[in-house]
Symmetry: C2
Subunit: 289 residues, 2 copies
């Protein structure tokens, strides 16, 4: 039998996922003592079961020890395997020793996880110098794409959408969502007139004045790129956009700043628990388990 456990914050995603996988939910107590130590107790018998743990790895330091304790006690108590569904995968940015003496945390963290779990599923990880997860993970590690979940949500919720990519780098990603949502898309273009003089243009804007602009990015952290893009859309006469992010990382104050920047609304996938979560990713996860 397969048992699905979840760390605090992912209860709704766990429920959706368990429904789609037709598997039983296990119960685990995770507590943090005032002295900063963690307590982990499995309340469901795992003996001879395949265990899936749902635990996003935003704020990874807070969770790493509890995750270690979970995997160890599950194995000690007879779990056949422990797989991790981490809708957001932390420690993917320091993928190089940029300056002498720096720890390459992406590789070290991947080795730490590889040692304690049997497989990993994540959604749109930050792959830059590492081209695939297999370069750093020694276990089966699969990167899913939220494009399908986002396209489904856009289809269902937005009339006459036009998808917007904030820069040329986002073209492939935005065109993928657009194709699946059967919607048009445009990508903002930077025209350099000099070192400091950069003009941003919104191509074909006249075609889409009556459409609802849907601005898409993978991670919203400081929200600076989004807010800047919104300014350009406004200037060119478009309607207030709906902003979609895959991962609601949101630095302090960033969500509030984005809400006040003249958007229609801000919507994210449920990969990191946040007030803006509206796009369910249980479909794409369930498909590969």
């Amino acid at each position: 039998m397969t048992l699905l456990f979840t760390f605090p914050g992912y209860e709704e995603l766990a429920k959706n996922l368990a429904g789609k996988l037709k598997c039983t939910q296990g119960d685990v107590t995770i507590r943090h003592f005032p002295d900063g130590e963690s307590f982990v107790k499995l309340n469901t018998d795992v003996k001879n079961h395949e265990v899936i743990l749902l635990c996003g790895l935003d704020h990874p330091d807070k969770k790493a020890m509890a995750l270690l304790f979970f995997t160890k006690v599950a194995k000690e108590l007879g779990a056949k395997s422990v797989g991790l569904v981490a809708p957001y995968l932390g420690y993917m940015r320091q993928d190089k020793r940029f300056h002498g003496g720096e720890a390459i945390t992406s590789t070290i963290f991947a080795a730490f996880l590889s040692q304690h779990i049997d497989w990993l599923i994540t959604i749109d990880p930050h792959l830059h110098r590492h081209k695939t997860l297999d370069e750093i993970y020694k276990i089966p590690a699969k990167a899913l794409h939220a494009a399908h979940s986002i396209a489904t949500w856009v289809n269902k919720n937005i009339d006459h959408p036009v998808l917007i990519g904030p820069d040329e780098e986002s073209e492939q990603w935005v065109s993928d969502v657009a194709q699946q949502a059967n919607a048009p898309f445009i990508v903002l273009k930077k025209i350099r007139h000099g070192d400091q003089d950069v003009e941003v243009s919104v191509p074909d804007v006249e075609l889409y004045k009556d459409h609802t602009p849907v601005l898409i990015d993978d991670i919203i952290s400081t929200a600076r790129t989004m807010i800047e893009t919104i300014t350009h859309l406004k200037k060119s006469g478009m309607k207030p956009p709906i902003c979609i992010g895959v991962h609601a990382v949101f630095a302090k104050g960033a969500y509030e700043a984005l809400l006040e920047s003249g958007v229609e609304s801000v919507v994210t996938c449920n990969t990191i628990p946040h007030a803006s979560n509206a796009i369910d990713t249980s479909d794409i996860i369930a498909q590969v388990i």
Copy 2:
């Protein structure tokens, strides 16, 4: 050559220790990003050197990943060995599966550390069901006693001290400090008159009315035991005591409550950085390295 690095908070202890060991201090940058990830950068070349890291393991979850990154990058960059001086050792209380399904965090955490460091030195760890560190650590692991540091401090700072143990369990520990400080000691006695009716007596109190009571305990966490003991000392007519703890764990509000409970002062060893730190442990650490 031996290089001594320190995590934030232990700078003074590191300076004292480096002075006594006549070793060079290494420089490391430890930063925490707003998204909860850690950054570690060695600013001193460790190639072919023996590395000592000073990092207490109070709030271990906050530090475990940075500690892992430190040990890995030090080894990658050619350190001959990485030893850990953790003046306070966390995860020592859950030394048993008290209820089914619980992770035995003392054992799992010890295995985690054993994998990444070459040796461990700590001070007065909470050894209860584990009788020695060797039961759970696979590396050389040494538990030092703060008694000598405390006795030296008492000798130097208190006229006519009488050392006080809060209960009979503390007798061995308090008598050890008393002997080294060449001072008398008393241990409070509980006399049971019934299930609910417990009388606490202060033996030989008449002998010590003019002495300065020095109340000693290993960990001050909630400070409840100390505050209760202070009430008994007051009732029996003793002077306001000086309270000494080895480890300044202090739950929220506990230090303030202790200060307001009628003490002369509160003093702790520098094993966990805290405003009350006054007793230096660099002597006992330097002796064994």
